[in-house]
């Protein structure tokens, strides 16, 4: 399968398109259908296609797995901190996140950073699960 020229040439321009669509879904998650989980899953699908078509070494040359796990952990900590603010201030007089305006990405307050963090976490976790399943953690 790795030597099929049609598959390789089609994937060379399909993978950036899939990634662009995933980033669109993540960035517009609070004002249109989608969100962090759906966008992150589509992003991880593009990594999985690259893994299947170009081989595991190609993907490993792009991301180091230790770096991937570190990014994921840092994103989880930041997510916890931002979400804790949202929980703690829900009944008090501190400022609430605003309701977003359709068409304006920056109108949602801290919902946009939360969506971006969830997207990164889901993409990393889905790809790591797939890699552990496929290669057996070598």
């Amino acid at each position: 399968m790795k030597n099929d020229i049609v598959l390789r040439e089609v994937c060379k321009f399909m993978i950036p398109a899939i990634q662009l669509y995933a980033v669109y879904i993540i960035l517009h998650g609070h004002i249109s259908p989608g969100g962090g989980f759906a966008g992150g899953t589509i992003l991880s699908c593009s990594f999985i296609i690259a893994h299947l078509v170009f081989g595991r070494d190609y993907v490993k040359s792009k991301f180091n797995f230790n770096l991937l796990i570190k990014i994921m952990s840092i994103c989880l900590i930041i997510y916890g901190i931002i979400k804790m603010y949202s929980f703690l201030t829900s009944g008090t007089h501190l400022p609430h996140p605003p309701i977003g305006v359709p068409g304006n990405i920056l109108s949602g307050g801290f919902i946009l950073p939360l969506n971006i963090l969830v997207g990164i976490i889901v993409a990393c976790v889905m790809y790591i699960v797939f890699d552990l399943f496929m290669e057996g953690g070598k």
Partner: protein, 79 residues
């Protein structure tokens, strides 16, 4: 639109029975993927496009891939 939804609901019942009846494991996985895709269209019909995107990505993409890898691991590498 009512007729379209009813046809898809009936096909969902047929597919869900077929998944457990079909003997070939690979065919069963493919029928399950088609079930997920039709479910995604049905979520769209029920005004839940958010769920439709997630169902299409997770149900038809990741789950099918993991099932196919599991079948490959069970049968061994016969090349």
């Amino acid at each position: 639109m009512e007729l379209f939804s009813i046809i898809m609901l009936i096909s969902l019942i047929i597919f869900s029975i077929a998944v457990s009846v079909v003997k070939d494991l690979l065919a069963s996985v493919i029928v399950f993927m088609v079930y997920s895709l039709i479910m995604a269209i049905l979520w769209q019909q029920l005004n839940a496009p958010d769920l439709a995107i997630t169902e299409a990505a997770v149900g038809a993409g990741i789950t099918t891939l993991l099932f196919i890898i599991a079948i490959k691991k069970i049968r061994g590498d016969k090349k």
